[in-house]
């Protein structure tokens, strides 16, 4: 990485409002003027009251919600790209190579075995299939998901098991930027330790991390600083 690379992801004046056409066109502003930059190897925890827009910000950063205003700059394959202005195919490429997201809940795909779910993003970026499966297997074992579960689709798994599948899928590729939404919410103490270890290792490898951590103990151990998301004034 070059000298002076001060950020991996940076927002400039990011704003988001929802217009509810089915409720008479009510406009709900949620985010305004968000300026957040995260350096390689840095972990920033979003703070602020429930409903302030932390999850909305995360979804905007992943391109799941369209940004209403402002820019979301990312370093993608040696170029600076604005995710807020990227078309669908560019967003897919950014998600494949640069930007990972661990949501709170696994979106279960019928009939696809756990191991394939975790290996899929690696295969998509060109890792040979056998190597991808081996990496997926190792990460699942590290997250205490026993080998007998690897061949099963996670539809019938417990919430904690599904979350660990989700975590393995998110951490496996080693994205330069990783978004974590409540990564330890349904985990026991031992697995929480594993996740803290994964986050620390990712930071050492230069990953920029933005997270929502309701578990303050986890937050205090992994986060380098807090970024406060404040509710928008009601009459905007």
């Amino acid at each position: 990485m070059t000298m002076g690379m001060s950020w991996s992801i940076r927002t400039e004046g990011l704003g988001k409002a929802f217009t509810l056409h089915l409720q008479g066109g009510t406009r709900i502003p949620v985010l305004g003027g968000v300026d957040l930059g995260v350096a390689p190897g840095e972990c920033v925890a979003l703070s602020g009251p429930s409903g302030a827009g932390k999850s909305t910000l995360m979804r905007c950063l992943y391109g799941n919600y369209g940004a209403g205003e402002g820019r979301i700059l990312l370093r993608h394959q040696g170029e600076i790209l604005d995710l807020a202005a990227a078309d669908a195919r560019a967003v897919r490429a950014i998600r494949r190579e640069t930007l990972g997201y661990v949501s709170q809940f696994l979106r279960v795909i019928p009939r696809v075995p756990t191991l394939e779910i975790v290996a899929e993003p690696l295969i998509a970026r060109g890792t040979p299939r056998e190597a991808a499966l081996a990496a997926a297997r190792a990460l699942l074992l590290r997250l205490n998901l026993p080998a007998r579960l690897h061949g099963l689709p996670p539809a019938t798994f417990s919430g904690g098991e599904q979350q660990r599948v989700n975590l393995a899928r998110g951490f496996a590729p080693g994205y330069p930027v990783l978004l974590l939404d409540e990564p330890t919410a349904s985990l026991d103490a031992a697995n929480r330790e594993v996740v803290i270890g994964l986050i620390e290792a990712a930071k050492l490898a230069g990953t920029a991390i933005i997270g929502i951590f309701h578990d303050t103990e986890v937050r205090d151990r992994v986060a380098d600083r807090l970024f406060e998301v404040l509710p928008m004034p009601a009459a905007a």
């Binding site: 929802f18 195919r89 897919r92 019928p110």
Partner: protein, 257 residues
Amino acid sequence: MSAPLLQASGLSLRFGAIAALDDVALEIHPGEVVAIVGESGSGKTTLLRVLSGLMRPEAGTVRYRDPAGAVHSVHDMGEAAMRRLHRSDWGFVHQNPRDGLRMRVSAGGNIGERLMAVGARHYGGIRAEATAWLQRVEIDPERIDGMPDKFSGGMQQRLQIARTLVTHPRLVFMDEPTGGLDVSVQAKLLDMIRGLVADLGLAVLIVTHDIAAARLLAHRLLVMRHGRVVEQGLTDRVLDDPQHEYTQLLVASVLAA
């Protein structure tokens, strides 16, 4: 960035007073899965038929890029060239498998016929390929000599998919492929389509009114209403952050699963 496989612009077509297509533009790139969603009568099936050359628009063009990189106007290429294209580089999966299968030809024959149309001549090789494809779509190879009209609806649809994909087309059109099937059969078929599309790197243009199927399969989504594309973009963004009033209604009407 790769050049698009198919590129359409300014497509319009009226049925009497009704605008079935109203200035529609669209492109699809290699390996891309694009879903066209909308309610009955929105024009989505008409769009698929126009894009695939089965129907002629009143205005607009559809351009197709062949494997050698040459670009052709789909509606000016002539019937023989169109038939050749549909036999080799393109595939079409119909909602009703009876429209895509030959019901009086065996399962193996249905698959082998497509291979022979692109030049396969060795009987043993064709039968081996047909057997492999039956397995791939989870039909017992023992039924290779069975007639499709003795198959269940789900099996017929899987056979149609095998028949379509055996020649490794680069672009496949699908019109409500899970439309007439039971819910449990739909899930299996969707998952099979998802796996095949990813393994073969196919570009797929799929028409569906099933939002969950679109979310599972498609990279990109076009929402149609009254012959117009009212919204389009990344699948998860269109479904999770819909901008147009009609898309918001469509998403709000779906039961969460």
